[in-house]
């Protein structure tokens, strides 16, 4: 699809082994491989570092604890006591996106979060889960979520559709934000990497230096986007408990 040296070539999916199930192609691809690496890194790290369960933590154990406390704090700040039940989900989501982004920063490694279908699936899970949660908590009253109190009555015909649209666009904004960030960052890196090769003599050093700086920025964005994904999930869960 893309040209041989296109910056978008890095996003192409290559099957590693072809698998078919019930007529569907579920080949194990480089994307699946990146997910496998991500899951292995997370599970092994969180298991091995806390293996000793020491009261005075080693440095590695401290990292695990810091991540745990980071998300626990995030949930309790945004949702409160109700949030504890969703901690494993939000934590898994955060870690999956974070380590997925970080694995993508390894050269030649595929970034599965740069695929809209993946991020949209994660966002859709959040969206559908939160909507169901809202109906469980409030029943039919959940629709009052779209009704903003304290606004002149003649504004409601305008505001209610806006609220509905903004609610329905949540999974899109959530997924596109992550996807676009990853796509743009990796594309930019690739474009400048192309400059390093194509520029004459030693001038290729300049785009190389830029790549180094950009890599730092991308690592920051990788963390930031995982954080944004997690905090928005927390806020949506909070909305399902407290309508406005």
């Amino acid at each position: 699809m893309a040209a041989k040296d296109s910056p978008l070539k890095q996003f192409e999916i290559d099957p590693i082994s072809n698998i078919e199930l019930g007529g569907y192609d579920i080949s194990f691809t480089n994307s699946s491989f990146a997910m496998l690496i991500t899951v292995l890194v997370i599970t092994l790290f969180l298991t091995l570092t806390v293996n000793t369960r020491s009261i005075i933590p080693s440095r590695m154990q401290l990292i695990s604890e810091l991540m745990y406390n980071f998300i626990a704090q995030l949930l309790s700040d945004t949702v409160g006591d109700n949030g504890k039940r969703y901690f494993p989900f939000v934590f898994s989501l955060f870690m999956f996106v974070l380590i997925g982004n970080m694995v993508g920063m390894i050269p030649y490694q595929f970034t599965f979060t740069s695929h809209i279908i993946v991020t949209f699936a994660l966002a859709a899970v959040v969206f559908i889960g939160v909507t169901i949660l809202g109906f469980i908590n409030h029943g039919i009253k959940f629709f009052t979520f779209f009704y903003i109190p304290g606004v002149p009555f003649y504004m409601h015909p305008l505001l209610i559709p806006i609220e509905v649209i903004s609610y329905l666009s949540r999974p899109i904004s959530l997924s596109v934000r992550l996807f676009a960030n990853m796509l743009a960052g990796h594309t930019l890196l690739k474009v400048f990497a192309g400059f390093v090769v194509s520029m004459p003599f030693f001038t290729g050093v300049f785009p190389l230096a830029f790549i180094v700086a950009l890599t730092g920025l991308e690592i920051l964005i990788a963390f930031l986007q995982a954080y944004v994904f997690a905090i928005l999930t927390c806020l949506y869960i909070n909305d399902a408990y407290h309508l406005h």
Binding site: P15, L21, V39, A121
Partner: protein, 163 residues
């Protein structure tokens, strides 16, 4: 754009579901409870240490209070003893002083009496001597015999001139 190629959508969704569900269940059931127990254990340990530290502090304060009480008590006792001793000594001294005073007074009054008595005696002796001398003198000069009573009268009238 490879992202919009639906060829591998099913495959990606399938593996995403597999890996994410595995990750979620694993973290939920294995990793997170482990970290939670460690954190809880640490918190318990900290609480325990804090409470035992508090207990020890309380104990130390109690002991300090006891020591202070005892010091105060001892001070009061010594003060009392000192006071008592001073009082006893003062009483002793004053009683001794008063008895001494009495003795002295008695001695002084005795001495006065004696002096007075001896003075009287002396005066009598002097009177007698005067009478005798006067008798002798008058007897030698003249032949008049003066009786003691007459002489006494004369001496009494001139007594003021002797003193």
């Amino acid at each position: 754009m490879p992202q919009l190629n639906p060829e591998f959508f099913v495959s990606q969704l399938f593996w995403l579901a597999v890996f994410f569900i595995f990750l979620f269940v694993f973290l939920w059931r294995v990793s997170l409870p482990r970290i939670a127990t460690v954190l809880e254990k640490r918190q318990n340990k900290i609480d325990e240490n804090l409470s035992s530290a508090k207990e020890l502090q309380d104990q130390a304060m109690e002991i300090e209070k006891k020591i202070n009480d005892q010091i105060n008590k001892a001070k009061l006792e010594t003060d009392e003893t000192i006071k008592e001793t001073i009082n006893a000594l003062q009483e002793d001294v004053s009683s001794q002083l008063s008895s001494l005073d009495k003795d002295l007074e008695k001695k002084v009054s005795d001495a006065e009496k004696e002096i007075l008595k001896s003075k009287d005696d002396q005066m009598k002796n002097i009177n007698n001597e005067i009478i005798n001398i006067t008798k002798l003198t008058v007897g030698k000069i003249t032949d008049i015999e003066l009786s003691d009573n007459e002489l006494n009268k004369v001496i009494e009238t001139h007594k003021g001139n002797f003193n």
